[in-house]
Amino acid sequence: MTPPTFRLDGKVALITGGSKGLGRAMALAFASAGADVVVASRKAEACENVAAEVRALGRRALAVGCHVGVWSECEAVVARTVAEMGRLDVLVNNAGIAPVPPSLEGVTEDLFDKTIAVNLKGPLRLSGVAAAHLPDGGSIINISSVASVRPSPHTVVYAAAKAGLNALTKAAAQEFGPRGIRVNAIICGTFQTDSFARSIPSDEVARQLASRIPLGRIASADEIVGTALFLASDASSYMTGALLALDGGVS
């Protein structure tokens, strides 16, 4: 018996929203685990910074400016990945936005369309386009949110989009299962990221949030790494269609 190594040697991973927060944490961890990494986000320059960090770890990296809400840009980023990196083994649909509407009536058409485009439309198109290139053993990881199963008024659009992402996860797992491509989602709870810090008005609010989490704290961005490596690697070879909670016990 050879125990699983959780390594990604020889594999190429495409991570959307890869320039900061959880996406950056996964990009650097995947590189440390042996993968070459394509860092995609709307901000090409920020992607280049993370790509440089990946190269400093001794892996190849490609930075691609990409707005996942646009169908053709999803196709382009996958085409560039395959053309320049030679293959695609792992797709992480991490890019997401969570604008807060004042009320249900106050949800603008623009807020609705943008939230659905980035959180659901993009992952759906990227999964469809990427699957043509993913080999047997390939893995798609959708970064979902605890809001998808515990929605609230101020997350209503985001929560609906992420619930859609959960449904996409299960449907894609069915379509690609017989080809040996696994599709899973991570249901993220509260993480200490830049966007979280910006969305929290005070330390007191952060403390209140933490007190409602059974583990009693907000997660650091690096705590997504273990779950992501598990799902990306052969260590989870018999796991697909799963929605894995990473939320300190909330859901």
Partner: protein
């Protein structure tokens, strides 16, 4: 962080109790955790088999292993198991409640009191009691991981397997309860629910129904039955710091076999 990636799944210095460790999934779980660096306490009813498996694990992984005969159905015998482990290793970091029984299929109409009591004693009461005894030991170091092995059948229920699947459903509920009760003690508690594996239990079912394994494999999205070693990755993930923010969650490893 990056230097830590290789250590994230490392179990060196940790002590793991694995029940039902002599065969099938339990055997893979015990050797897999040892492969990740843990010292192992291999538990089953059969002391001789436990000692043999402990020796085999040490031989293949180089890790210390102790075989302890103990019956999960015997509530009052479990404190002695925990004391034996403390005497030998001085600490407990990981508990894998894997021992379980699923004897002859029985319909609800034909189910006897003895049958129901026996299945709940081994599949629920034993694991809950053992976890309850181990948690205070883990709390001394303010860190620990309990993994309760259930089954994907706990969600859909299985005709003629009701005592087994409902006992495992109870174990999943207890997993959530323990996660909430022990979070402040630094102890994480998760469930691991296998689908069709080429396990001792599956081989038993195949003796009664030769098509059982084929049908079970076909019911997965990956269209196959897994080998026992494919459970190891999930166990190392849940046992190690790789899942530091994960608790109270069931992890279905079933090739995408749907929960319902």
């Amino acid at each position: 962080m990056n230097a830590g990636v290789s250590q994230l799944f490392d179990l060196s210095e940790r002590v793991a109790i694995v029940t039902g460790a002599t065969k099938g999934l339990g055997r893979s779980l015990a050797e897999g955790l040892a492969g990740a660096g843990a010292s192992i306490v291999a538990v089953s009813r059969d002391q001789e088999a436990c000692s043999r498996v402990a020796g085999e694990i040490t031989a293949s992984t180089g890790r210390p292993a102790l075989g302890v005969g103990s019956h999960m159905g015997e509530w009052d015998a479990l404190p002695a198991l925990v004391e034996t482990v403390r005497d030998r290793f001085g600490r407990i970091d990981i508990l894998v409640n894997n021992a379980g029984i699923n004897p002859a299929p029985t319909s609800v109409i034909d189910m006897s009191s003895e049958y129901l009591d026996k299945l709940f004693a081994v599949n629920v009461k034993g694991p809950v009691r053992l976890a309850g005894l181990v948690a205070p030991v883990m709390a001394v170091r303010a860190k620990g991981s309990v993994i309760n092995v259930a089954t994907v059948g706990a969600y859909a229920g299985g005709a003629n397997f009701g005592a087994y699947t409902s006992a495992k459903a109870a174990l999943i509920n207890f997993t959530k309860v323990m996660a909430k009760e022990w979070a402040s003690m630094g102890i994480r508690v998760n469930a691991l629910s296998p689908g069709p594996f080429n396990s001792t239990m599956m081989q038993g079912a195949a003796k009664l129904d030769t098509e059982f394994s084929t049908r079970a494999g076909a019911a997965t999205l990956q269209r196959r039955v897994a080998e026992c070693d494919e459970i190891i990755g999930a166990a190392i993930y849940l046992a190690s710091d790789a899942s530091s923010f994960v608790t109270g969650e069931d992890h279905v490893v079933a090739g995408g076999m749907l929960r319902a």
